[in-house]
Symmetry: C2
Subunit: 451 residues, 2 copies
């Protein structure tokens, strides 16, 4: 019922047939007791019944001519009990024999905004997935991680062509989905969360081919023994050694990341940051201690922090007035309320340096005491519009230090405005620097079409 | 005027004399043109005048018998220009000669709730610092970092005895403040953000002595060349090599952290987590992929993740019903809405294992679609009360995946409730694990009184 409710709210246009042994009605639709009773043709069945009923269900689907069954249900090879593994093998055998493809079991299935498919439960019309489609195709062995990626990505202007949560991969697996995404014209970037692969050689071949055409970002879980064991209990995957994975992914031309947040950071960068001519960043924002910390983080990530020339520093000093602050070498500690005009000028001067390839502007809300008083949403939007019109180099925006709810609220509003202006928005300087550095390295070897 | 406004709102009980050449009145108080015109005795002067007027001000303060001057003003040795360094030396000479101690220049000064001193600007009565005093004494070379620490800490139940933002440390420096905090009975934990030290040998002696009495948590900035250069332009500090620092801090018995967030994590742990008997953690929460990621993070942090025995797993299975989920080996993937009673039971069973030293319970808001519908604040408070009454082992709470504003709001409300219940609350599994591991290591060598 939850899936049906979600699909209806999301505006799925195809015919939906509810199935349940009880019969009756739901949302004014007749409930059929059995697949074979459904009057019209059926392409896709979502199964939320107990694992033990699925062999019969899949057999019935084969008779009915159903093309694919999504097994939301868990209780197969991922459980300890022998029965689970046997059941999975049995269902697979029936599906293969009957020409039915399986997604799952133990997964959320498919979100595809262009065809109105979703798996997000939309309570209070607040938590549904966006209807707007986009260029990121996500393949995720974990349902939770796929939900998180859609929520975290869409707020930052990253939308999805298709999201496939595939769980145990009894039939269709990561390699099948990767091959599909590589050829899918709606997918310009491929993202993957994988715990293990079924056939390493086939996967690496598919990955090499895909990564030559489009950027492929991979979050491979299970880097430690504990993680590898957790993979086995989660989706029965065999994780493999972290070091081997790292080497193979690099060789195949994929971009490796360590979390779903980094996967989204990377997508934001690929889609929204013009490629910088080099690694030399200038960092501008408020907070001296934060500037020091950010300098460490930027160098550690692999980017460079060129010293601004004395003449540029002098010019910035004269814009702000000598006593308004003093950290102008890079990072630049900009007075928080130096005025829109002054800030636009100072940032343009720093960006104009021929030693600088990109700008990182950061906004630390919890450090300012004045979040709600000065209405930063309007102040900063105007300021950023000014900077955007004057600065022609790539520009990354960081909204961070949002511990207080009011700070988070202001940051969210600014994020929305800046995302609409086409800017890449990050939530920490370290993560921005790390994604940008990976982007620069990846672009040196990638021969395909940029997303 | 901002400082005066802050002090008045914060309830400072001493006599305040506004000083400005203009004369006149502010908040009904007479403004004096010169220190020497003030009728009563004065202990402490906060200076926000231009650097060039400070030699005269300090000279006047000496005549008046002022004990300490806080130079909020910047424009001294941290700027490039020779004048800054000369001015700082001149002011210092005058202060030394006149028996006046200096805090700063280029800093926020002192926050001391028990005496009503503050430097937080309190606009709309929203952004002031807490009036409640606590056990953490913070010494910070950066004003912004000290503001952030107070905001981030107080939300998680960490309150402050004194916070000293000391900037360039022309006169009183990190070692003076450390010696003071070591002897201060109100301070049970010392936290430090330092960019460099004036006298390495004296500092290490003071640190050794302090760290033998109380836990000392140190965030030493400037680990890379870029960071070290940024230290110089921020507070004119010489950062020193990161590797040398690491060795020295360890030898002195201090707890080294890499950010202000980690400093607060560590304080939360020291104050709110009973010392676990060992490193074996059981991790319980919703999200299979997240469980895998958390397993990697926990192992990487140095903690252990023991396999739960088959009999315990069977018991948990029977509580939830075999098909409700399947990841029970540890991490445990708990169904988000398995009911209060079932969850309390399952968690108690896992915690009771003699292989387990501590519990990490995590709550990933963005993964659930039901944040606002199910009123998690009430649901989870009751559940945690149940768990707290049954589980006698140390328990760390993680509130994470709060990208959506509604998720953050629910998380904040839960945090408030759980903090009131005395629990340690963290914002990521990785950071919780890292702080707990440091805590266990530190406690093995610490012979003083636990905070």
């Amino acid at each position: 019922v939850r899936f049906i409710e979600s699909l209806r709210k999301f505006g799925y246009k195809g015919q939906i047939y509810p199935l349940h042994p009880s019969g009756g009605e739901v949302y004014g639709m007749k409930i059929y007791a059995n697949v074979k009773d459904v009057p019209g043709p059926m392409d896709y069945v979502i199964s939320a019944v107990s694992a033990r009923y699925t062999p019969q269900l899949v057999a019935d689907c084969a008779v009915k001519g159903v093309k694919a069954v999504h097994l939301f249900t868990s209780g197969y090879s991922e459980i300890e009990d022998e029965i689970g593994g046997k059941l999975e093998a049995e269902v697979l055998k029936i599906a293969r024999k009957g020409g039915v493809r399986l997604i799952g079991p133990n997964c959320m299935g498919i979100y595809c905004p262009s065809s109105g498919m979703t798996f997000a439960q939309d309570f209070n019309d607040q938590h549904g997935f966006p209807k707007r489609p986009g260029p990121l195709g996500l393949i995720s062995q974990s349902g939770g991680n796929s939900i998180y990626a859609v929520r975290a990505g869409s707020g930052r202007g990253v939308f999805f062509s298709k999201v496939i949560s595939y769980g145990n991969a009894a039939d269709l697996n990561e390699t099948d989905f990767l091959e599909y995404m590589a050829d899918d014209p709606d997918t310009r970037i491929i993202g993957m969360y994988i715990e293990g692969v079924k056939n390493g050689r086939r996967f690496m071949q598919a990955l090499k081919r895909a990564a030559a055409i489009k950027p492929v970002i991979i979050n491979k879980a299970g880097a430690t023994d504990g993680g590898a064991r957790a993979c086995a209990t989660h989706t029965s995957a065999v994780a493999g050694s972290a070091a081997i994975w790292q080497g193979l992914l690099k060789q195949a031309g994929a971009i490796q990341v360590d979390s779903m947040d980094e996967l989204i950071d990377m997508s934001v960068t690929l889609l929204r940051l013009p490629l910088p001519a080099g690694k030399r960043a200038v960092v501008i924002g408020t907070g001296g201690g934060l500037g020091v910390e950010s300098a460490d983080q930027i160098i550690s990530a692999g980017l460079k922090l060129p010293l601004l020339t004395p003449s540029i520093r002098k010019e910035i000093c004269s814009i702000y007035g000598t006593e308004a602050g003093s950290m102008y070498r890079n990072p630049v500690d900009a007075p928080p309320f130096g005025g829109i005009e002054n800030t636009v000028k100072a940032v343009s001067v720093a960006a104009a340096s021929d030693k600088v390839d990109l700008l990182i502007l950061h906004f630390a809300f919890d450090i300012w005491a004045m979040v709600s008083r000065s209405e930063p949403r309007y102040f900063f939007t105007e300021m950023i519009e000014g900077i955007q019109s004057k600065v022609k180099k790539p520009m990354a925006m960081v909204l961070h230090y949002t511990t207080e709810l009011a700070a988070k609220q202001s940051a969210d509003e600014l994020q929305k405005k800046w995302v609409d202006m086409g800017l890449p928005v990050y939530h920490s300087i370290a993560r921005a620097a790390s994604a940008i550095n990976r982007y620069i390295h990846w672009s040196r070897h990638f021969k395909g079409k940029k997303p």
